[in-house]
Symmetry: C2
Subunit: 209 residues, 2 copies
Amino acid sequence: MTRAPKPALKARKTPMQSRSRVTVDAIFEATIQVLLRDGMGALTTTRVAERAGVSVGTMYQYFPNKQALVYALNERYLDTLAGRIEAVCARMQGAPLAKMAEALVDAYWAAKTERAEVTRALYRSVVELDNDALLHAFAARADAATTAMFATACDGAVEDVDALNLTLASVIYGTVRNAFERGLTDSEARVLRGNLVAMCRAYICTFSG
Amino acid sequence: MTRAPKPALKARKTPMQSRSRVTVDAIFEATIQVLLRDGMGALTTTRVAERAGVSVGTMYQYFPNKQALVYALNERYLDTLAGRIEAVCARMQGAPLAKMAEALVDAYWAAKTERAEVTRALYRSVVELDNDALLHAFAARADAATTAMFATACDGAVEDVDALNLTLASVIYGTVRNAFERGLTDSEARVLRGNLVAMCRAYICTFSG
DNA sequence: CCAAAAGCTGAAGGTTCCTTCATATCCTGA
DNA sequence: TCAGGATATGAAGGAACCTTCAGCTTTTGG
């Protein structure tokens, strides 16, 4: 009895031909652009379809309703993000804690900055839907990866991995997001990024010292 | 030539009699409740008015449109928050840096936690409007207060107050928000809060040592 | 080449919502 | 007490939007 998260949120049809795969991608991209240009309030099915160069009906062949579209978009983004974090965690197994933290900052910072507008657009869209499920799933996946990584630190065994993980994850993700929301200049961003790493390092010394 | 932020966002009329002051408060409170119960997507003028126990027309006597209502709500909240931060900063003048940081964490954490649902509701609503202006104004006010405070630290002169402020502000505000968005248990929250303070302290030693 | 499947179209139904305004009630100061 | 400003009402206009569906075009597999 595995109930689907929300029956109305599942994709209606999976693209089979390459033509339709292109269409779906165009719809996603159009959604991002409309979100960027006009904001969530002006995200209408017509506008998205128009910008994607397809008709409204086409949209409804792949998404049962507008909400499902936004949901899928965020799902896709968070999936990629989680994948990146997992990759970094795998690569840093057995490294010293400080290096791990630095790598995590780098990865997250890069992910957010690379396509800054997209990030910003998505932040504007998650709010509408029942994002608890989505964000919780992401957090669980990321936490699993980072916790596993921290447990392999070569610094000597960490007493309370969960506490360490909770702290570093919250501080890093939170700070990066906050930095992102202020419109920092490049130099400010560099300073903050460096200081964030320094802070993690300083904390780790206290923690495992 | 000081152009108003957005002509349509200014209040239409200021309450004069006590009766109307009550009404406006009821409308604000109703907005929060609807936001909480049904989310931003279901925030309709009718619903708000109904919950506030007034008619739709009444709403439009104080707010030119729906957007202005949400805007005013956030403005009010951020104003209070900024006021609190300023108060803490004033009280901690001349203290050691570590104490300042701790007080800041306390204040911000308390402000967010005290009426957690309200905070959550507002987070859901800022996204819709042109929040850049609002958030930027808040950040500027808070930064001014904290920077001034840090400059009076009795630890010996800080080399680069702006860098210190940027770092601590971003880390503290960001982390608290992130902590708030995960649904932390009480014990997790306590641990994180303690570690955040420890982190700031560790960083400060590095910085001013 | 052909039939079936996949994909696409877009006008229109039906709903929801924002906002107005003419009217009615309440409050204050004289 | 009374006039006039302040406040409240809520039905209705009008605009915007989501979603459907019957029919058309393109692609695939044999």
